[in-house]
Structure formats: structure tokens, C-alpha cells
Homo-oligomer: 246 residues x 2
Amino acid sequence: MCKHQAIDVAVLLGSLPQFSALSPAELATLAAGATHIFATRGQMLVRQGDLCQGMFIVLDGQVKLAFISSQGHEKVIQVVRPGQVFCEAMLFVDQPYAFFSQALCDLALVHLTKSCMLEVMAGNPGLMRHFLAGVASGYHRLLIEHKTIRLYSATERTVRYLFAELASSGRLCDGAVIDLDVAKGLIASQLNLTQEHFSRVLRELHQLGTIVLKGRRVVIPEMSALAACLSGQPLTGGVWTKLPAM
Amino acid sequence: MCKHQAIDVAVLLGSLPQFSALSPAELATLAAGATHIFATRGQMLVRQGDLCQGMFIVLDGQVKLAFISSQGHEKVIQVVRPGQVFCEAMLFVDQPYAFFSQALCDLALVHLTKSCMLEVMAGNPGLMRHFLAGVASGYHRLLIEHKTIRLYSATERTVRYLFAELASSGRLCDGAVIDLDVAKGLIASQLNLTQEHFSRVLRELHQLGTIVLKGRRVVIPEMSALAACLSGQPLTGGVWTKLPAM
DNA sequence: CGGGTCATTGATCTAGGTCAACTGGCGTGG
DNA sequence: CCACGCCAGTTGACCTAGATCAATGACCCG
């Protein structure tokens, strides 16, 4: 792992939205424990079982968070993109990492040590509040993903993923185009599917005319057709077939 | 829902570990927005889709957090027990609830409004830090449960559940006894299993002699036999059979 | 004693996984 | 410029973990 204790780390940190409101003194404290990291594709950034030393901010490239069973089955939790942070919740939990993170391509990031982060946060309630909101929304995101995996079928999870991609790109009109920026196998794993099954689901949607598929480009001719694949709407009757066991 | 704006809410709050360090003025602020709630079995405390109005502390009884699909399939996330808090992460996320919560029996709890909580926290970094740690460890717990569901088989999830129960009761010796304090159907749902399948798994373990089952009482004659059901140990060779797709 | 709730058991079904072969770019090196 | 190999993706044949459906049993408690 190539680490630069670059001279301009304080400047770099100040330019990040997370830290733009910090005083020069606070930035200096953070910078003292900060490392500018350039990692190569495939490199491990944190290992399952390690204790948290600090948090990461992705400047450029993509990072995969995943866990792996003893049989080698790997399941992706999330792909972290530039501007996003990871391992920040672990600053506050004295437990070994339940996942690992790996560079999906050559990338640039900043590592901030736990102690510096905690020190600055202790003197800056605004920053702490910011992190609290971040961790809480991370919790909420994970909860929703957990729910999606437990409640919905492969096709529905796939369609929900497409909608999430559309929403994040802001284009929710008919004829919208999605260019997948990661390998399909990774997306499949995030949806708790095998690559093979994911491929079949996409083909089925393509054959139905719901989507138009060409490599990693997905075109949605009409939103309503895609939305019809979701079980949210077909409120036929509306009476729940099976009531909770309590 | 029977709500008492009891006179002694401030005293009650002060006696809770979460708030024992608060000043009288802070307790008064919290108490101003606090409600002492007595709910009856089956009653909904928060509904899927609602916006968060505040958080709850369970004084007595059990609360189920779960979500439900449009077909009525219910999946339990967690059972909250006395002394525990729920919905606290939602104070910091402006999103509708992705789950609902329901009283599993008649119960007593305290509801604290969002605005009061945020106000007191803004002036008390120690409390905020406490909540940050709480939300972060909730995140970690959910992550581990998510991982368990995605990586392990029904039998292994069941065994892991038993170990978690043992760990929380502190008795990890041979001959340990677990008395399940909730319906088996609820445990099954937390493990993402049907009640039927869970029953079969338990019976299988019983027939193997790994556990002794009598109603809701589970006896573990020897820990090592139970541990042998986990795939963590059999590091045969150690080479992963299937390498990550990256 | 009768009606809840909770749990067990059997018979059958299916979504999705596994294994294996194949395709179609795309960069690399001769 | 072509041959080669590599990697991402596709397709087909088959299998299995766990769900579903349906019936029955075991308590409790009023």
C-alpha cells in the first residue's frame, strides 16, 4: 500500500464537504493522523476480523465492502464511490470488522485515525451531530436493503435496484438510460443473487420488453411498465392473506 | 393507547442509565415531551410509513420490530426487551419508518419526543456521544444479522442463535440451559425461517443429541458438539474454493 | 369443556443455486 | 495484423434448501 504523508492533507481535508466547517486548528489535528493512500486494484483496505484503526474517505475510484464465508462465498454489501465515507460507524464500536473492503480499481483515499477523529469530535458537537446523522442514515439504508432481500423475489429486487439507480441519477422519465458502472456480478451479489440468476432475470425483463439491454447499458422505455413489476401496487383486494403470528 | 402524563416522569427518566448523568434542567426539558405509555398486547406503537415523532424506552414487556410485504408476509427484525431503546436511530433520519413495532404483551414504556431529544442533545455532547455509540452498535448488530442470514444455512443460523443466547446469559459451560422467552415462530422469523422449518431443524439437532429439547427449554449437553455445527472451524485446507468475482 | 395460541409433522412444490460449457470483446505480444 | 488468452457475461441442465399447504397435537386459561 503506497502511503503519502502529503504536505497538503490539511488543505485536502478542508476541501471535503464533511470537514469544510472545521477551524484551522481542528483541521491540523485531523491532518496529523491523516494518510493519503493510493491503492491498486484488488488491494485489501480492511480485513474481516481486524480492529478499527480509523475511517476512510474515497477520493477517486470504487471500494467494495463485502463479507466472505469460510467456504469462500463472497457477498457484497456496498460499493463505495468518490465522496463517500466508509468504516465511520466502526469508530464507535469496539468490535472486529464483520466485513472486508477491497479496491475495485486503482484508487485514491484518505485515512483518518480513530483517535484524531474522536478528539476533534469531542470538541465539536456540530461535527459529531453530522456523523450521528451519517451513521443513522447508514443504518436506515442497511435496514432497507435487509428488508428488500428478505421480502422480495429476485425479479423484484432487480427492478428495485434499477429504480434506485434511476433515482440517484435523477432521471425518472420514460426512455431513461442507466449505465451500470460496476460488473454485473457485483450487482448480483448486492442483490443476494448469483451472477447467473441475475443474468436470467435481466434477460426475462428484456424479453418482456420492460427494459432494453445492451451490455451494461439498460434503457427503460416506459417507467410504468417497470413499476408494474413491483408488488407494492397490485392491491388486489388489499386484505392480507396471512396474518402475523405475533 | 393509554397515555399517562405522569407527575414523576422526570424522576423515572433520571433513574434510567441512559439519562442518569443529566442535570435536573435537562431532565425537565426531556420530561416536558415525555409520555408514559401503557400498551396492550397486539397494539401498534409505530407503523410502517409513519414519520418519526420520537423514540421509545421499554420499561416492561417485549416489543416486536418487523416489516411486512404487500402479500402479508411478516419478517421480524428484533425483539426489544426492558431497558432497551428503539427508534432512536430514526430521530436523525428524515425518512418514513421502514418497519412497524407492536406490543408482544401488555407493556410499559416511555416515549420521548424528537424535538426534546434533539434539544437536550444539542447542549450535551456526552449524551450525543452516548447515542452515537448506541446507533453505531445497532448498525453493527444489524450488519452481523444480515451477514448471518446471507451466509449460513438454516441449521447454522439456529446454532448461532443458541450461542448468542448463551453468551447473553453468560452461561457457556456444558449442560447450559436456555429458556426461550418468546414464541418459536418469532425466533424462526428473526432467523429468516418459517416456523415449520425451524421446528424441523431443532428436531434434527435433538435427534443428533446435540441439544435436548423440551418445549421452550433447550439444554446443551456439551458445547463442543454444538460448536461442531458451525462452519467456522473446519478449515480443511484453508484454500477458498471459489474466488471473488472482484 | 371449548376455543385461543403455539407447535409439530407430513407431502409437495419451487425459487434460486450449482456446475459446466460456451461466447464475445479487448488488450497484448509476436 | 492475427493469434492468444483473459475476463465478463450468457446459456443450459440439473439439484436442493427451504417454503407452502394442510392436518393434527399440546397446552392453557376462562
